[in-house]
Symmetry: D2
Subunit: 393 residues, 4 copies
């Protein structure tokens, strides 16, 4: 964030910019820093970097603002709605020191549990004046509702979101934290598939990767591993006839091949037509479908598939160094944003500059791979995929 | 092998010991080194270290014996029975130089294809006088049959096996190559499961590991990761009631837990009662059974499982340094053994000294974990498992 | 490349799609693709990603343009000035297939050997019409001279540079390939230093990192490892008195500390006053100076240093997945640039869009860390460095 | 340890074997378990696995014997001689849970500080009845002296050593913990040297490895990396003339080469003739000597060296999975040994069975590589070293 130096210059006022928040501007806030009580919560599934964010937020509050009351809310929104069942953890400079070196979330991530009114009650009861929400678009939309509920009650609380999506499908911002790490691990697994496929006659390695709506992980991992012959993403519909032709051509040329497929790809072939309790479409398993289809297709000619579904292995790895730098930037800027009194906003990089945007904007959709983009066409080229699978036609 | 210096001292005779072979003793062989044509074949599924063995054999033949005609038979026994469909690759000092740094087998591993008579024909036709068989007990038994067929024809060929089993279930020898590497990778995956389980309320990570008949991989990986709370192996039958009690007790104490289960464990709970075309029992999927059972058991209390089946990821990793040293020893000693004229034998370490044994002995059974052994009881202790799951009662 | 045709050598004109270069436009070029002969050369020291670039260039030429004559010039400019002593290697789709998985350069990187006239002779003699120069600012300036010499001779050759600097000190472009990989490995080594320092009473780990003129590697690695207490870079002069005070304060607080220092930092303390044969200043060894100074300073109180100089270890690692993606983009865009007839230009990302710029611009200086930038101030904050070491005063 | 099941069967008596100890046999001990207070101390330099040992000892005491008073003595013997300056840390099941996943020693390793009488005073004062000493031959000899001093005072304390040597030079036992990990990391660094050397014309990579008196690390790492052309160890004297001839021959054949040299090798070429304060010979730096000698030798022909000294990087890595298993075995057996009342002994594996031996025996010398052993000759063969460098003549 360009304004990073500001917190050190208390004479600067932020009236105009500071108008979102329910708290006064940062200059005034300084006087009351002793009363600041902060909390951080991680919602949804695991994603690399959660501990980096938790640590970054804690460290910045501790060292830059002298805040000593920092709570790690456990079990996502559940811990805010019902802190008795899910008691928070005190976070200190000391107990977050090493956490960025391992995967997961020391405060446990969880889905569901959102209840704006109960949460407002608990924020008030616990005296929390600064709240950091780490989670996906659903979490940030809930954050927006919480911000509105808080404003209605005239609750003095800064609510700042840090969007999280291992799929990198958050709109408006450049990329999500943890995404590069997921791509790195995914590309490592793709190379496992390469070894399996190429150590066998007419072997086909298939790796199913995350990406319900957006194929960023599959696309980047395929480009990064640079040994993939077919990449399938939700944004590009393909005919199985074309897939099989490409498989045959590739096997004829190289004797083995590797496929990276996003979980949301090819739903036209595997659609379940069902929805779960919350109204979300239940996706068909494209990985298993591909495995079965190709095994059947290849059997006469002696080929076979090796199918890998590494989802949990990817989600749980420690963050990579470069990705950690991004987490630190986001965490710091989230803290600076909150401490200057902004609320109802999310932080993220736009054109590589960390900015804030109203949380409701983050929940307006999913970012998608554009089939005409140089990223996807570069991936198509890297994979030597034919025009029929390129999404251009 | 104690006798490692011997090939350099041509005056030593090896009559008594050398009596197995169809070739004369090593001393005579030296005179005919120019005519030696060697071949190496990798059978069965992938296992870390195949490339190390291929390289070790090639390098030792090349540098120590000056052999220049070395064939990599492709696709396992298929490449010996039908070299026209699966043409062999020429192996040279140059083209094996880097292969030990990556997983898989550059000459492709494959199952089936054994036909002793056709293979004898082809050995004769190709002029192969030294043959290295890398594969499991089935492969080595076939090696024994090949040795007998060759002897009947008075074929001048040394057939030396290097037993392979990622499960480490080869009888008589200390351990198989690739096993330590598999354990290392498996324990890494177990730590992924730990991250998932511990970043969630009442999370249970389940990792299914290889081990149809023997639980060595699961046992060692559980001990090595040192974060496992329950290890299940084929050699120890347990009641699901006891498993569920242990799960409840562990979750009550730690709020999360990790399970490592060998694929052949708990077959009494999942038995299919079916056999495949070759008469092998089709195993039930204990991993999925555990996942489903525990999900159902935990649902009322809010817990859930994270199930990982990393089989292909483990098989395909590059060999670890210490394991590579073992491969080099085996490869060298296999070459020395063959070049001295032994045949129908396998090499492996016994009490840490590389020895040779008749191949037919290798095929007499599977090595198993002994429930009373300090290895298993040490694993039980590491996991804090109760007596009911320890196999002692 | 979105920015097709935007930044360009002003004196050249672009007609339909590609009229700028010394070659005819791309449309025409297509007709003559069979006559295209390409070459790639890597100059200067090692940097992660060289093999990715070599592979990317080869693959793009091969698959997208059908070029089959691609030479890997060995030993940098030496191989162009004197191809008889340093014969080139033929690059094919096949022999570059795996190279991106390992560090180094398969065509060997080397310094010196530039002779514009000889090189023009050899380009002509070998029939090379497309040349890719991978190297630092010196290499690109030489590339500019070569372009001028070629133009004088009316040589039909496209000369396209891909700037390389493990220090990330190339002006104008966002970042150099290999830089993120270097940061990742450097931060791993910093964690080794942390282990040493913290497993000892009053231990101080010191890691010297690359960065003669610019502190990007040290700054990013310190931020990424997030365990560093003092980061020193060439752009920020500090007094040893302030350094020692910070060391004492940190040891008093934590009992151990970690220092990351760029090789060009603190030259005011270690200046040699000498220049080498080529007129470059010979730098004093700030790492050894810090080690000795701190050992002396700490001895009375029982402390000690652990000094690590990991330079060669960092330079030689395989590229990270995300960095490889950048290499692929650069390589592809370099090929598209060259094949459309541009020459005398370099490719690189500006605001994350790959563009081309005249090579002579690349050689006009070194990019530096700005002490007031949020990157450096964020690093200062991450390290908890006092104002006196922050470069702000 | 074969006797692993014993602690669970209190009816077994251990009279004869149990006679060393000052404590009665284990059966009686059980009655007094509540009064057991244990301590563990790590002496000397860092070595992978210290945290595994600390954790293993703590976990076994906690779960198998119900001991709840476990101290981590800080700063080696200093913390026993002067616990006021180096206060111990309480170890619990909880605070050792993750420590085996990172390098170093959470209780800090340190040299010196041994004073048998002061230590006996402090053991008495702190009520420590079980003491685990992790350290090299010097530490274990001090342990023997401490045992004698304690016996003289009739102090009820079990003193059990776990020998530590990253060089693997402990006599009598098969191998030391941490050694395999050191070999693994060393072989990784050797591959860095390979990349440097082979990406340059006539490049020579030199890696200096630990091994003052014994070349096990260099020998095993050279065999494991399997890309080394020359390995030099203290046990084999070589003439520089022969070294240079081998360098020339290797460069002529391959154009690059890699050297692994133990720090204690070739002292005849670099001897300082000096001794330090404690009477130990100060070794000359063979790594720098080789670098300088080869640079000079190669300059005329255009070659150069790349010298890497990775000592601290190797010492500080986390333990490998297989090595951790060994640590767990040692820790468990050390605890069982101590709890059964043995004292003045060390534990370690002999022919792969964990045994105990009187500590004074451990201090009687250093284990060395035998030049005629198959390990060294296998290494010579792997490196393609000529007879003159093989140690056989």
């Amino acid at each position: 964030m360009i304004a990073i130096g500001i917190p050190r210059s208390p004479e600067i006022e932020l009236k105009a910019e500071g108008s979102y928040g329910s708290l006064p501007c940062w200059a005034c806030l300084l006087l009351e820093l002793r009363t600041v009580k902060a909390a951080v919560v991680t919602c949804g599934g695991l994603c690399p970097g959660l501990n980096s964010i938790i640590r970054g937020v804690t460290k910045c509050l501790w060292h830059e603002y002298g805040v000593r009351e920092i709570l790690g809310i456990t079990a996502g929104y559940n811990g805010l709605s019902d802190p008795d069942s899910h008691p928070p953890i005190k976070l200190t400079e000391e107990n977050v020191r090493d956490i960025h070196m391992k995967g997961g979330s020391i405060i446990k991530a969880a889905r569901g549990g959102f209840d704006a009114e109960k949460i407002c009650d608990n924020l008030q009861r616990l005296g929390i004046t600064v709240l950091f929400l780490v989670g996906g678009d659903g979490t940030q939309f809930a954050g927006h509702l919480l911000y509105e509920a808080a404003r209605k009650r005239r609750l003095d609380v800064s609510i700042v979101g840090i969007p999280k999506s291992i799929d990198n499908d958050v709109v408006l911002f450049d990329r999500t934290f943890g995404f590069e790490t997921a791509v790195a691990k995914a590309s490592e697994v793709i190379r496992n598939a390469l070894v399996e496929a190429s150590s066998c006659d007419r072997g086909v390695g298939i790796v199913k990767l995350m990406g319900r709506d957006s194929g960023f992980v599959a696309m980047h991992a395929a480009t990064a591993a640079d040994v993939v012959d077919l990449c399938m993403i939700p944004e590009v519909n393909v005919k199985m006839k074309d897939v099989l032709e490409h498989v045959d051509a590739t096997l004829a040329r190289k004797k083995y091949m590797v496929i990276a497929v996003a979980e949301g790809a090819g739903q036209e072939h595997v659609s379940t037509g069902k929805k779960d309790d919350t109204g979300h479409t239940i996706y068909g398993d494209i990985g298993v479908f591909l495995k079965d289809t190709l095994n059947k297709h290849l059997k006469p000619s002696g080929g076979r598939t090796f199918y890998i579904d590494p989802s949990y292995i990817i989600r749980s790895v420690p963050i990579t160094p470069n990705d950690h730098i991004y987490c630190v930037r986001l965490a710091n800027d989230a803290v600076h944003t909150a401490m200057r009194g902004y609320t109802g906003v999310c932080v993220g990089a736009m054109h590589n500059i960390v900015c804030m945007l109203p949380s409701r904007l983050i929940a307006t959709g999913k970012k998608k791979v554009r089939p005409h983009s140089s990223s996807w066409q570069g991936c198509v080229q890297t994979c030597n995929m034919p025009a029929a699978l390129s999404g251009l036609f």
